[in-house]
Amino acid sequence: MQTDEKPAKQGIRADRAMALVLAVFSLAFALAVGMLALDQQRVLDANSHLQGETVPKVISTQRLARNLEQLRQEGERIFANNSPAARQQSMFVVTLIASHPSILDNAPAARLAGEAEAFLGEVVRLAAQDQQALRQRYEVWKALSGRLGNQVDDMSTRGVDLISNDLVVANLAMETARYKLMAVLILLGLFVIVVMLLVRRHLIAPLQRSVSALSSLDAGEALPALGPSRLIEIQAIEEAVRELHEQISQNEAVRQELEKLANKDGLTGLTNRRHFMLTAEIELQRAQRYRRPVTVGMADLDYFKKLNDTYGHAAGDAVLKAFAGMVSEALRQSDLVCRYGGEEFAFLFPEIAPSEAIALAERLRRRCADADVTLPDGRKVRVTASLGLADASECPIEIALKHADEALYEAKRQGRNRVVVAGIPVTAGASA
């Protein structure tokens, strides 16, 4: 048992191909976006760190620096004041600053403040006994004061450094994010280009080829090259185009065969009357347009009814077929001939006038008169034909044929087996 199942197509389905491309891109895009999100988080973390930890630390450092500076200034006051009470008051503040938690939390500051407190305490004590002690110890204090000043500067710088460090981290993350963003955009652009190329190569171009093939589809021309495509859907379209082309070719062959059958006489194989009239009309118009000679003729088998009655219709058919063969042999290839009806035949002789067509008609008449026709039962008969010719160079085909028919009638009237030209009184031919 045969089935019409077609073999499974080898290829990729378009939707699956697109889904695959989209999946790959989506994965890459999601990865890139995820990396961008991480960088963004790094920026947020750096900012959060800056706000939550660094800024308070910087403020705290600034306050510590302020206290160290205050301690230094109180020390200067101790050396500048002549009043023991004022010196005692400054020393009081120095002690409180040096013991404040903000100083004690910072080891270098605590060491320096402790050193200054001890030094200034000794100076205040010595100055209470001898004012000269202030002058004697001032150089030492200048060095200590300088170190305090440097410490203050260092702390101010450290505060800026702390902020700078966070900003560097944030900037680095932002810069990385910018490069990644550019990479994502390039990736996006590449994807669009790749998709466009794939769509063009595997969808648009094959479709254009199919459309072009469809628009120029002709039974007489070979099908343009299609495929092979990787996409099953395109393969199906191309296969359909091929099948359509094949179908059109078959239909054209059938149509031509049918046309041929429609234009031929079924018995004799000659052109039938309808087709003859169409082609003769065209030929006649052409001849008249270029003022070329053209002649039409009518022929009729003599005593055909009697032959039919005597030998039967099969014999009549055999005679008609034999006469058609003689026509083909006797006339030129360019001459048109048809079975006009029954035993009557019509002719059109291009490029010759009746005076020249007589020779052709005579050749046919003689050929017919000289030939034995073998009937289906084996017997042989001989038949003759009468022919009438008429000039068709200046009148419509119907009129010209009418003239030829009248000439044929005249040939019959004159005894048959002869050729008569319309309008010419002299007749040619002989009796059968």
């Binding site: 308070p56 302020r66 206290n67 109180e74 008051q89 938690p101």
Partner: protein
């Protein structure tokens, strides 16, 4: 409701917001925050020569109220009663510098640290905390008073920080134990320098650490607001300006 009326409502709201004056501080009609402060605790809280409340804590509290868009309604209290008043919800906040101790935290909410402090032993050079039979002035209700109870000192209780110097000048006490800012205030008191007192930090854990404002346990939202406001005030420079106005060095 269709889309257009909604859009019109949103537009009207936006226009209204744009046309509204931007509040720049506490104003009449703002919510009222009941704040307890000390009267005689210079330089942190005191009544100045014009009869106005002044001091580091008072100014800081005003800044916080402005930041919170509320009106501060001050009332007086004492260090001895402040925790009780706040715990009872008679006030919302006490702008009193309280050492953050477990005992106090059990009764009231504490703001974020306003500053850090240590306790100063203020006495003549020859007298130390270990001196037997020494008379020590402390403020009633203070952490220093609680610590003094545990020592073999003769305690001279006073009601306010501002009275410590008087006790010393009057000879009622030989020494005083007070927070560092209070000692700075005492330094400005007339006659203080004649006492010849020397400051010495007491290295006792419960006498130092974070100092904060007490918030009523009934108003936890106020604590959150105060914490946020304090953070902003400490960052934008207002805190330091107030610090400079009342104290010779940074206490945070």
């Amino acid at each position: 409701m269709t889309f257009l009326p909604r859009l019109a409502s949103c537009f009207s709201l936006l226009v209204g917001l744009l046309l509204c004056p931007v509040p720049t501080g506490a104003a009449a009609g703002d919510p009222v925050l009941r704040v307890a402060v000390l009267d005689n605790s210079p330089p942190m809280a005191f009544i100045d020569a014009q009869g106005q409340r002044n001091g580091f804590s008072v100014s800081l509290m005003r800044a916080l109220c402005e930041e919170m868009r509320v009106t501060c309604q001050f009332s007086s209290t004492t260090l001895e009663r402040v925790v009780e008043v706040v715990a009872a919800g008679q006030v919302d906040v006490a702008a009193v510098n309280l050492l953050d101790t477990p005992e106090r935290r059990a009764r009231v909410l504490f703001s974020r640290p306003v500053f850090r402090s240590r306790s100063i032993w203020l006495a003549p050079v020859a007298l130390g905390p270990e001196s037997a039979g020494i008379t020590v002035a402390v403020v009633q209700g203070s952490a220093q008073a609680a610590y003094a109870q545990t020592q073999s000192w003769r305690i001279v209780p006073v009601k306010a920080n501002g009275e410590l110097t008087k006790a010393l000048l009057a000879g009622d006490a030989q020494a005083a134990l007070a927070p560092m800012p209070t000692v700075l205030g005492m330094l400005q008191q007339p006659g203080f320098e004649r006492l010849g007192l020397v400051p010495r930090v007491l290295p006792v854990a419960e006498l130092g650490g974070n100092v904060g404002f007490a918030v009523s346990p009934e108003r936890p939202a106020v604590k959150v607001q105060i914490d946020a406001a304090l953070d902003r005030v400490k960052r934008d420079g207002r805190y330091d300006r107030i610090n400079s106005e009342f104290l010779p060095f940074r206490i945070d």
